[in-house]
C-alpha cells in the first residue's frame, strides 16, 4: 500500500468527489509520476500558495493546456533518458471535454505516451456550475437553467471515451469513485501500456448537483447501479463492461436525489430511462460482437 500522496487540509468543498479521484489516482501510480493539471476545482483548492496538497511533482499552467504541457514534459523526460516516470494530464470535464479538447484530440491522434484522466463533475463547477459538454441531459445549471419552456440541458452528454477510441487509443476506461478498486486497477493497467491512454472518472459534486455532502459515494454508486454511468474498459479496441448487475435500478432513484434534476417530469425521466436502456443493450451487443473499435473507425 502506498502512502497517501494527497495531504489533508485542502480546501475542497465537504463531500467533494473530485479530490477522491485524485487520491485514488495517486494510490495507483505511486510517487514516480508527474501530474499536469488544468485550471479547475482541484487546482484552486489543492494548491493555495504557499501551501500544496500534492506530494508528487505537479504543474498547472492554464485551463486548456494540461494535455499539451504533459506532452512537453514527456518529451523532456525522453531527452533526459527517463523512461519510467508516468506523465498524467489531469483535468475536470471543462478542461478536458470542452475547452482543452483540441489538445486531447491532438495527443490521441499522435498517440503521445501520456495518460489523460478526466475528473468529471458534469459542469464548470469551479466558476459556479455552468453546463459543460459533460453535463447530462435534463440537468439544470447556471447556463442551462430549467424553466417554463426549458428542461435544462437539451442535449446528451458528450462521449469522450468513445471519441478517444475513435482516435485509435490503446486503452480507454470509465471509472467511478464509488468503485476505488476498479478505478485503481484501471490506472495500474493503463500504466503498463504505451501511447495515449484515456480514463474518465465520474466524480459527484454536492454543491453543483444539489445533494447532501454525506451522500457523495451513495450518489456515485447509484449512478453506476442505474446505468447513468457505465463502468467499462476498451483495451486494444475491445469493449468490456466492468459492472453488470442482474437488473439495473430505475434511474429515477438517482435523479430524485439531486436538485439539478428536481424539475424533471415523469415523461422526461422516461426519456432518460429509455436512453439508458437502449445504450445498455447496444453496449451488450457491441461487447458480444467482438468488434474492434480501434480499427473500424
Amino acid at each position: 500500500m502506498n502512502d497517501d500522496l494527497i495531504s489533508p487540509g485542502h480546501r475542497t468543498c465537504a463531500g467533494c468527489g473530485s479530490i477522491l479521484a485524485a487520491r485514488h489516482m495517486l494510490k495507483a501510480t505511486g510517487r514516480d509520476v508527474i501530474i499536469c493539471e488544468s485550471t479547475g476545482c482541484l487546482e484552486v483548492t489543492s494548491t493555495q500558495y504557499p501551501l500544496t496538497s500534492w506530494k508528487v511533482p505537479w504543474i498547472h499552467v492554464l485551463f486548456e493546456n494540461a494535455v499539451s504541457v504533459a506532452v512537453g514534459v514527456k518529451a523532456a523526460l525522453w531527452a533526459q533518458g527517463n523512461e519510467h516516470t508516468q506523465v498524467i494530464a489531469f483535468g475536470g470535464d471543462g478542461g478536458i471535454v470542452d475547452i482543452g479538447f483540441g489538445a486531447v484530440s491532438g495527443a490521441l491522434e499522435r498517440n503521445d505516451d501520456i495518460m489523460i484522466i478526466t475528473y468529471d463533475n458534469e459542469a464548470y463547477a469551479n466558476t459556479g456550475i455552468q453546463r459543460s459538454g459533460a453535463t447530462p441531459f435534463g440537468a439544470s445549471t447556471g447556463t442551462s437553467p430549467h424553466g417554463k419552456v426549458s428542461i435544462g440541458k437539451k442535449v446528451w452528454k458528450k462521449n469522450v471515451p468513445m471519441i478517444a477510441v475513435a482516435h485509435g487509443a490503446g486503452y480507454v476506461a470509465s471509472a467511478s469513485i464509488a468503485y476505488p478498486k476498479d478505478l485503481q486497477d484501471k490506472i495500474k493497467k493503463a500504466m503498463s501500456i504505451k501511447g495515449t491512454r484515456y480514463i474518465h472518472i465520474h466524480t459527484p459534486c454536492p454543491v453543483g448537483w444539489g445533494f447532501d455532502s454525506s451522500k457523495t459515494i451513495e450518489i456515485a454508486r447509484l449512478a453506476v447501479q442505474t446505468g447513468m454511468w457505465i463502468l467499462f474498459e476498451i483495451e486494444d479496441g475491445k469493449f468490456k463492461k466492468m459492472f453488470r448487475p442482474t437488473e439495473l435500478m430505475p434511474v429515477e432513484n438517482y435523479l430524485r436525489m439531486q436538485k439539478r434534476f428536481e424539475h424533471l417530469k415523469e415523461e422526461e425521466i422516461k426519456i432518460i430511462q429509455d436512453h439508458i436502456n437502449q445504450t445498455w443493450k447496444e453496449l451488450d451487443n457491441l461487447e458480444k460482437s467482438g468488434v474492434n473499435l480501434r480499427t473500424i473507425l
Partner: protein, 340 residues
C-alpha cells in the same frame, strides 16, 4: 535534421501554436531545453500561455518572425504581433540581420537560463525581409557554441519525482501582487545580463551588437532616428549619405533600456521614432510613445516626432527615410506621420 538523425532531439508535431508553446512550457518545466517559433496569428493564439510562462519564470526561447495581424488578413511583415505582447513579461530582442538572428538565439538561452534572470526570451526578426531572403551567414562552430552555452542543468524549480514540487499554484491577491512586482524587478534587472552576454559573445565569436540593448550608429548628429529591426539597415544607408542624422537602434525593447536611450538621445534637436506597429486609439506606434515618455524628464528635451511605416509589408525605401528626415524639421513636437 532530426529526420536525418543529425541532432538527437524530439520534434513534437503539435496541432496548434497554442499547444506548441504549452508543450515547450512543459518541457522546460521538466528541466530540458526546448525551442519553437511562430508569428502573427500564431503568436496571438499563444497570448495566454506567454503570460503564464513569464509568471512561472520558465527560461523559454522562441523566435518570432514578425508579421502583420488580421484583419484584413495579410502575411507580410510588420511588428504588430510581438509589440502586442510587450506586457507579457518576455524579454524581447529585435534583430537587424539574419546573422544577428542566429547569434541572438544562442545568446537568448544564456540570458533566459541565467539564475539572475529566469525569464523567457523572444527573438524577433522581420518576416520575409529576413526570413525569406538570401544573406551570407557565418554559422558559429558547434564546439564553440557548446563552450559558450554548456549543457543545461536547471537548479531552480522543476518537475522531478525525487524532489516533488508544485508549480503554477493558485494565489490570493497579496501574494499575487508581490509575485508580479518581483517579475517586474526581474525583467528590469535582466538588462545587465543582456549586456554581459552580448560582450561575452563578442569576445568568443568576434561579433557583437551595440551594448546588447541599443546600437548607436553615427549618432553624433543633431537628428537621431530611433527604430528596431531590419529597417535599421536601410536607415544606416541613409545616415551614411547625410550629415545631419544618426541612428539609435533599439535591440532590446523589453526591458526598455531607458537610461541608455536618455544617454543616446539627450542634446538632440530632433528625435524621429519609426514604428512598424500602430497602437490603435493612441494614434502612434508604441516605440514612439515610450521613447517620448523616457525623454520627458530631460530639462532640454528634444522635439520627438513619430512615423508609422511598413505596415503589412509595405516597403520602406531610402528616399522615404530621406523625405521623413526633411519633413521632421517642420513637424511639431509629438506629431506623427504615416509613411504611405
Amino acid at each position: 535534421m532530426i529526420a536525418d538523425g543529425r541532432i538527437k532531439s524530439r520534434f513534437l508535431e503539435v496541432e496548434s501554436e497554442f499547444s506548441a508553446i504549452s508543450s515547450v512550457a512543459g518541457a522546460v518545466a521538466a528541466g530540458s531545453r526546448a525551442f519553437t517559433a511562430t508569428c502573427s496569428q500564431g503568436l496571438a493564439l499563444m497570448h495566454e500561455v506567454l503570460f503564464a510562462i513569464a509568471g512561472m519564470r520558465l527560461p523559454v526561447v522562441m523566435v518570432v518572425t514578425n508579421r502583420a495581424l488580421s484583419s484584413p488578413i495579410n502575411i507580410w511583415n510588420d511588428c504588430q504581433d510581438s509589440i502586442s505582447e510587450r506586457d507579457s513579461g518576455w524579454i524581447q530582442l529585435y534583430v537587424e540581420t539574419v546573422q544577428e538572428a542566429v547569434d541572438t538565439i544562442i545568446q537568448a538561452y544564456k540570458i533566459a537560463e541565467d539564475n539572475r534572470v529566469l525569464l523567457p526570451v523572444m527573438v524577433c526578426m522581420d518576416g520575409f525581409i529576413l526570413t525569406h531572403t538570401v544573406e551570407p551567414v557565418e554559422l558559429p562552430d558547434d564546439v564553440e557554441v557548446k563552450k559558450f552555452l554548456p549543457k543545461y542543468k536547471p537548479n531552480h524549480a522543476f518537475l522531478d519525482p525525487t524532489r516533488p514540487m508544485t508549480l503554477g499554484p493558485f494565489t490570493y491577491p497579496e501574494p499575487y501582487f508581490k509575485l508580479r512586482k518581483e517579475l517586474s524587478l526581474a525583467i528590469d534587472n535582466s538588462k545587465i545580463i543582456i549586456s554581459e552576454v552580448n560582450e561575452e559573445f563578442g569576445e568568443m565569436f568576434k561579433r557583437k551588437y551595440g551594448n546588447g540593448l541599443i546600437e548607436e550608429y553615427k549618432n553624433d548628429k543633431k537628428i537621431a532616428i530611433v527604430s528596431m529591426g531590419s529597417v535599421c539597415g536601410t536607415i544606416k544607408c541613409v545616415v551614411d549619405s547625410r550629415k545631419d542624422t544618426g541612428l539609435v537602434r533599439i535591440r532590446c525593447y523589453r526591458p526598455l533600456p531607458k537610461e541608455d536611450l536618455i544617454e543616446a538621445l539627450k542634446g538632440k534637436e530632433i528625435v524621429i521614432v519609426l514604428d512598424k506597429n500602430i497602437s490603435l486609439g493612441l494614434g502612434s506606434g508604441s516605440v514612439f510613445s515610450e521613447v517620448r515618455d523616457v525623454l520627458y524628464s530631460l530639462k532640454d528635451r528634444p522635439k520627438v516626432v513619430g512615423c508609422v511605416a511598413g505596415l503589412g509589408g509595405t516597403d520602406i525605401k531610402s528616399k522615404d527615410i530621406n523625405r521623413l528626415i526633411d519633413e521632421s524639421k517642420k513637424m511639431k513636437d509629438g506629431e506623427v506621420v504615416w509613411l504611405i
